[in-house]
């Protein structure tokens, strides 16, 4: 039951140790295969003529393998009837689709028992009780739900028992948006971080814009809400440690959440994208508490020193220098913040320097990802786009329905918007919201599932025509949490090319992605070395690993 694959490849690696950079950046292509997939999920925000601000905020996507058959299944969150905030019809149910391994999916919502309750917003999937089965946490406006995976295709709502209902200390339900599973104290059990938005209700709801053309009111009208950190007690229950850990003292308007060890100290840190308020970077003090250092690290504001409508976020290393950096989505006219980690605790606001400023100025983004779509070893950017207001088009510069966007990594810390060349799948104009990243068909290319208000969710299969090599690493923690979330991976290809990533399902907007860690390997057909730094502290090294496989790595016992 020790580590699984350490493929011997004694071959003389004098084989053209061609630097990977020599390969031309590949052409990124996506194809929407929703129609033949059998996935007909339409996100229903239940909007009303007055456009209450809740109608812009759903919804998320989770890619998880709930039945452990090696293929990612899809879970969507959904809205509810307004103003009642109840799921009174099938159009409002959350949905779970089982992957049939042939490009089709089967709706298993009812047998699984995951229709949900209330106005759902986000989803986060991980195995919180280390039983080998992926559980689901659903955030929402009036109801957060923890579903325990029973292992037989069904789930049980264990919210009450687990104590993760998303309430404030005074018992008020906070407006949950995103959630992240993270073992912040490295005790081998996944804890839960929940971002909360703001204090809105129908009673206090304001109306903005003209009758018949209502717009979403600015969040500056409402008070922000504190985020929540739940510590996993290991017995199926959680303890709200928001206050003692220094989380709830910071009031923001939380939307996207992403985790990474930004300072390389072995403890996972948490970034929260705040809507029209300064972003938070919670620096982990060795599991004993968090310091909010967004201002000090220069990620609180844009390069202009002002907050923007930060929505989605991803936190990964696109420079291949070992330092996770931040990609944040925002509304049209603001540009997407891109905070590049300098490795010294500071981030550089690189939106224009990286070449995405002028293009993202015209976009409004929700879901966000830093993923290597063409397997060239350089992570690219993806944003799921749409303006927040259905009637945004009263302003000729804004558009409610927008195409998604993909920015190809040009390898010098710059990107190019290649959306126009990426195929029809990505050009669908819709009210996109959350999106999740993962390899739906296990072909080694990262696909994207995007939820959209009022139109079918898109299953964007990555059909990039490159012949680059890849690996997907599935970590199985033993002393660490079973999912291995928080494991930092350094990969050295046969050519000596080095890149980094870490295990997480968090990131994007209100969504949850493939727990398997993906690396594009360019022309390298073998991997010289994979180094895993497990949350337990164990450092595990694999050598001479074959490319183009899904590799399950089980945590070694401590020496």
């Amino acid at each position: 039951m020790r580590l699984v694959v350490a493929v011997t490849l004694a071959l003389a690696l004098a084989v053209s140790s061609f630097p990977i950079q020599a390969a031309e950046p590949s052409h990124i292509q996506f194809e929407n295969r929703q129609k033949r997939s059998g996935v007909w999920f339409v996100l229903d925000n239940g909007t009303l003529p007055d456009k209450p601000m809740i109608d812009g905020i759903p919804g998320g996507v989770a890619l998880l393998d709930y039945d452990d058959d090696g293929y990612l299944d899809i879970f969507f969150t959904n809205g509810a009837r307004l103003p009642e905030l109840v799921k009174d019809g099938p159009n409002f149910y959350n949905r779970l689709y089982h992957n049939n391994h042939d490009g089709t999916f089967t709706d298993v919502t009812d047998p699984a028992g995951v229709r949900g309750e209330g106005y759902s917003i986000g989803a986060a999937a991980a195995d919180y009780d280390n039983d080998g089965r992926t559980d689901i946490y659903v955030t929402g406006f009036n109801r957060n739900i923890l579903y325990h995976n029973n292992g037989d295709g069904t789930f049980t709502d264990v919210t009450a028992k687990a104590g993760v209902a998303g309430l404030s200390p005074t018992g008020q339900k906070l407006w949950g948006v995103s959630a992240a599973w993270v073992d912040y104290d490295n005790d081998g059990k996944l804890d839960l971080f929940v971002s909360n938005y703001l204090d809105w209700s129908f009673a206090t709801s304001r109306v903005c814009g003209a009758p018949g053309k209502r717009l979403s009111c600015s969040p500056t009208f409402y008070k922000g809400e504190p985020n929540i950190l739940y510590h996993n007690n290991g017995d199926g229950t959680f303890t709200d440690v928001s206050e003692v850990m220094g989380i709830s003292a910071h009031i923001g308007k939380g939307m996207g959440v992403a985790i990474a060890d930004y300072n390389g100290d072995g403890w996972m840190d948490v970034f929260v994208a705040n809507d029209n308020d300064r972003n938070f970077l919670f620096k982990n003090r060795a599991g004993h508490g968090f310091d909010e250092v967004g201002v000090e690290a220069f990620v609180a504001y844009t390069e202009n020193g002002v907050p923007v409508s930060s929505m989605g976020v991803d936190f990964r290393d696109w420079m291949n220098d070992g330092w996770p950096s931040l990609f944040v989505t925002a509304l049209g006219g603001e540009t997407f913040p891109l905070f590049r980690s300098e490795g010294n605790g500071f981030f550089s606001a690189d939106t224009y320097a990286a070449g995405i400023g002028f293009r993202s100025f015209k976009m409004s983004g929700w879901g966000a990802g830093i993923q290597d779509f063409d397997n060239d070893g350089y992570k690219d950017l993806f944003s799921a786009n749409s303006h927040v207001s259905e009637n945004a088009d009263v302003d000729p510069q804004q558009h409610y329905r927008q195409a998604n966007a993909v920015f190809r990594n040009l390898r010098q810390g710059t990107f190019r918007d290649v959306t126009d060349e990426a195929g029809a799948g990505i050009e669908i104009r819709a009210a996109h919201r959350g999106c999740a990243f993962g390899d739906l068909n296990n072909d080694g290319k990262i696909d994207v599932v995007v939820s959209a208000i009022g139109s079918p969710a898109e299953l964007l299969y990555n059909t990039s025509p490159d012949n680059n090599h890849w690996i997907l690493i599935q970590t199985v923690g033993v002393e660490s949490n079973r999912d291995g979330i928080g494991t930092r991976i350094k990969l050295t290809g046969a050519s000596g090319f080095v890149q980094y990533n870490h295990v997480t399902t968090a990131g994007s907007y209100a969504s949850s992605s493939d727990p398997r860690v993906h690396f594009g390997l360019g022309t390298d057909t073998t991997i010289k070395e994979i180094e895993l730094k497990w949350p337990s502290g164990t450092v595990q090294v694999l050598r001479n690993v074959k490319a183009d496989q899904i590799l399950k790595i089980i945590e070694e016992p401590k020496p």
């Binding site: 300064r278 000090e296 202009n304 002002v306 224009y352 070449g355 293009r359 945004a392 000729p396």
Partner: protein
């Protein structure tokens, strides 16, 4: 019975201008002169006017043309006298009031400009000169929609009035409608290629449309014609410098922001922008000097908020290793509430 009719006709006829009409035969030339002046071709207008003034000494319109020529040459008092004479002679001609009002506007005498523009509209609400001036004034007074309507009408009646095109472009710029703004600034700069302001605005509005090469060209055109005078643009270097910084041409950006700080040292934004650029260039001491200068410069228009200055200073001092000041400004950054944004989005 028949006699009565005749006498009525006579009475009507006697109310008409005395014969012979003093401007008779000069109308086409006068129209051309007016168009020249609208486009700012003063010397051409003057050359054309000379023979007309000689052949039609009693034609009041000659006075109007002379007034506009004097004004264009900067002889404000002479121009004002001529406008007064003309409006006495032709109290029903809206143009006299409109051009006179424009003179007051250029002298920052807004009350008189306002009154004269209103008077001009009363005489003739279809006069493009009156409409252009009134529209601009209404927009300045905050009645943007009505201002826009009048300016649109003015541009429709006389598409060759560069000032009306420019003012309408400004309204679309304020409305964050770059597509329409670009249309009018393109027209304004085509009519008056030495209008540096127009080129600047054109470039600024091409940026959000992603037409970066066209913006670059417009900035350069503007810089090549940026002479002191009514069309001078003191912020052209500032805007171009920012644009170049966004395009990662940092050395060139620095040159223009350097000039911007010379041209508008009283403006906080120019120091702020150069501080940010110096930060990117890792000229931390320079960045510090500029940021502190920005902090000590008043910004009554709130273009650059205190929050932005604090955030910048926090970064600068952190980069300089001055942890105490860095902490102080970080603290100020935290304590300063973010700006309240527009009520909707």
């Amino acid at each position: 019975m028949r006699e009565v009719v005749v006498s009525v006709l006579f009475a009507l006829a006697s109310a008409w201008p005395a014969f012979p009409e003093p401007c008779s035969g000069a109308q086409p030339q006068l129209a051309r002169i007016s168009a020249d002046l609208t486009l700012g071709n003063v010397s051409a207008a003057e050359a054309r006017l000379q023979p007309i003034a000689a052949s039609h000494p009693d034609c009041p319109e000659v006075l109007l043309a002379r007034a506009r020529i004097e004004e264009a040459k900067g002889n404000v008092e002479a121009a004002a006298n001529l406008y007064v004479q003309y409006t006495d002679l032709k109290p029903q001609d809206s143009r006299g009031f409109a051009y006179f009002g424009r003179l007051f506007l250029d002298q920052h005498d807004y009350a008189r400009a306002d009154a004269l523009s209103a008077a001009a509209m009363e005489k003739n609400a279809d006069d493009p000169a009156a409409l252009g001036l009134r529209g601009q004034l209404l927009a300045m007074k905050g009645q943007r929609q009505e201002g826009q309507r009048l300016l649109e009408k003015a541009c429709g009646l006389d598409p060759n009035d560069p000032e009306a095109q420019y003012q309408l472009g400004v309204i679309f710029d304020r409305d964050k409608n770059p597509t329409m703004a670009v249309e009018h600034f393109r027209r304004a700069t085509a009519l008056t290629p030495n209008d540096a302001r127009g080129w600047d605005y054109l470039a600024l509005n091409l940026e959000p449309l992603g037409e970066l090469d066209a913006a670059e060209q417009a900035y350069r055109k503007g810089l090549s014609v940026n002479q002191h005078g009514s069309l001078f643009d003191g912020f052209l270097d500032y805007n171009y410098g920012r644009f170049l910084a966004k395009r990662n041409q940092l050395v060139a950006a620095k040159q223009h922001l350097d000039r911007a700080t010379e041209m508008a040292p009283q403006v906080r934004a120019v120091w702020y922008e150069r501080a940010k650029l110096n930060l990117r260039l890792k000229n931390y001491q320079q960045a510090r000097a500029d940021a502190e200068k920005a902090a000590s410069t008043l910004d009554s228009a709130h273009v650059i908020l205190d929050l932005q200055i604090y955030a910048l200073l926090g970064q600068v001092y952190a980069r300089l290793g001055d942890t105490e000041r860095a902490r102080k400004y970080a603290e100020l950054t935290r304590q300063t509430p973010p700006p309240v944004r527009g009520e909707q989005r």
